[in-house]
Amino acid sequence: MMVKFKSFLKVYLQTFIYYRLQAFVWAVVDVMPLVVLIFIWQAIYQNQSLVAGLNFSQMVSYYFLLTLIFQLIYTAGGKNTISLEIYNGQLVFFLLKPYLYLKRVLAEEISWRSIQFLLFLPLFFLLMFLVKDNINLSLNYLSWLWFFLSLALAFFISAFLDYVCGLTAFWLVQTITLFHLKEICYWIFGGLAFPQSLLPAWLQKLNLFLPFYYVFAFPLEIITRDFYFQEIALRFAVQFVWLMVLFLVYKYLWKKGLKAYEAWGN
């Protein structure tokens, strides 16, 4: 099972190295908002030392980690691969092959993320060096263990959420609206725009039951704040439940979609 997956990884890594300039452009595009936000928060913190219980170092650390996590976790296979192949009829080509379509899509995603992450790292370290005095991270090894575990689960939640939106191409001619809705939810509930502590209390509680929180905000909070064991265990449980729910929704839509699917031509 892993042999086919490794072969896909190898092929796609070789393909995407050819498009390294494109990956570099995306890396620059992803780093620039960090620069903008640091200037904004620097100006805000000139007049006060705390904002929503966070000082400037904590805010800078938050956005630095957020940019790093975004590079590792954010998936676009639903929009760029699944919905496009369903719409163009190229899906037929892959349905005839003796491997799972999901395996191929995941291998493509991981390969692209790897190339882009490698090109992103030098820019990231340069920025980190420039603001190193303002980065404040916990060195609790247990926190880092929880962090990497939640990151792995977050990647699959992001992937399945993306693929579920992509599979709606079986029924909808244009799926871009769903992807926009997903992006808006990431910005508000996922912590992409600002830390969750800036949200009203009732919205923070509601957010714990939505999948978007567990993609970016939860891994970040593991590193930037302290949790009780019961709190972190409960949140891991909800994260795992969302992963299972999204996986089952993906399987259901895939089965239903294939029955409704039509393609013609070469």
């Binding site: 903008v36 100006a43 007049n47 609206t177 926009h180 808006i184 949200l199």
Partner: protein, 298 residues
């Protein structure tokens, strides 16, 4: 001394060339006068607009939903300001009301530039890589005009209206006094910002002629545009000078907002006007240089 004389001769010949062109305009343009050429371009531009509406009308429901999602992004952006100002009183010299004027101006500028140029620059790399630029180069019309203005992106329509509503609401609620000069200077600076954004965006897209097939070349300029959401007063001194004198990003959002608030000098406006013309001229020169490196796919 020799360099000075050579430069003087170069600009003298250049100006002679311009005088010659305008004196013999009809000969250079197949017997058509300046007004006729302008009318022809306007008619072509009208056709482009009609075609864009027809293209979007193919998927009406999707178009309708995308307009509102575009508006949703604008709402998220404004809510960001609302959230931040719940915890702070000001960012630098910019209080809540001034920041909302800046935010509304940023949304206006983005909506205008997306409306006019986004679709065209998204297809730019494809045009060059697939050789479809040939069909544009053989037409009896400016190729830069065709490449830059052929398609309209109609989705920011509600965002554009929303930005004006936010701006008017902030001005009325805070009783910010306006006069005809402030309004005219604001509109002029908006026009200058569109020219500057176009020129910089176009120049960044022309890199595809040298760097090869980069599908997302149009995204190179997007982070720079996002930077203009900042009030440039909060930047350190060196960066402030850089973004005023060298790469005039300050004229994209900050200066129009300041002009409406009565905080801008006429000297800065005049400088902005000239720098926008220089950048536009530079974009034309870069385009002509880039075409020399264009290899058709035939």
């Amino acid at each position: 001394m020799e360099f000075f004389l050579k430069t003087k001769l170069y600009f003298k010949n250049y100006l002679k060339g311009f005088k010659n062109y305008f004196r013999n305009f009809k000969i250079f343009n197949h017997g058509h006068g300046f007004k006729t050429i302008l009318k022809l371009y306007f008619r072509v531009y009208q056709c482009f607009f009609k075609n864009s509406i027809m293209a979007e009308s193919q998927y009406r429901l999707s178009f309708f939903l995308l307009i509102w999602f575009n508006f949703g992004w604008a709402l998220v952006y404004i809510f960001l300001y609302v959230f931040i100002f719940k915890f702070v009183d000001q960012v630098g010299d910019w209080n809540y009301q001034r920041s909302l004027v800046l935010a509304a101006t940023f949304l206006l500028v983005r909506a205008l530039n997306s409306f006019l140029f986004k679709q065209n620059f998204q297809n730019f790399a494809d045009l060059v890589y697939r050789g479809d630029l040939d069909f544009i180069l053989i037409k009896p019309i400016s190729s830069q005009f065709m490449v830059s203005l052929k398609k309209f992106y109609l989705r920011p329509f509600v965002r554009f209206i929303f930005a004006w509503l936010v701006l008017i609401t902030v001005l009325v609620q805070n009783q910010i006094k306006l006069n005809i000069i402030l309004v005219i200077s604001y509109l002029l600076l908006l026009l200058i910002s569109v020219i500057i954004v176009y020129s910089l965006w176009f120049i960044s897209c022309c890199l595809v002629f040298w760097l090869g097939n980069i599908d997302n070349i149009h995204e190179v300029f997007q982070p720079v545009l996002r930077l203009t959401a900042l009030p440039f007063d909060i930047l350190p001194g060196v960066l402030k000078e850089l973004f005023f004198l060298v790469i005039p990003l300050v004229f994209i959002t900050t200066m129009p907002a300041k002009s409406l608030l009565g905080l801008l000098s006429w000297a800065a406006c005049v400088y902005g006007f000239f720098i926008s013309l220089v950048l536009f001229y530079l974009s034309a020169k870069v385009w002509h240089l880039a075409l020399k490196y264009y290899v058709s796919a035939a």
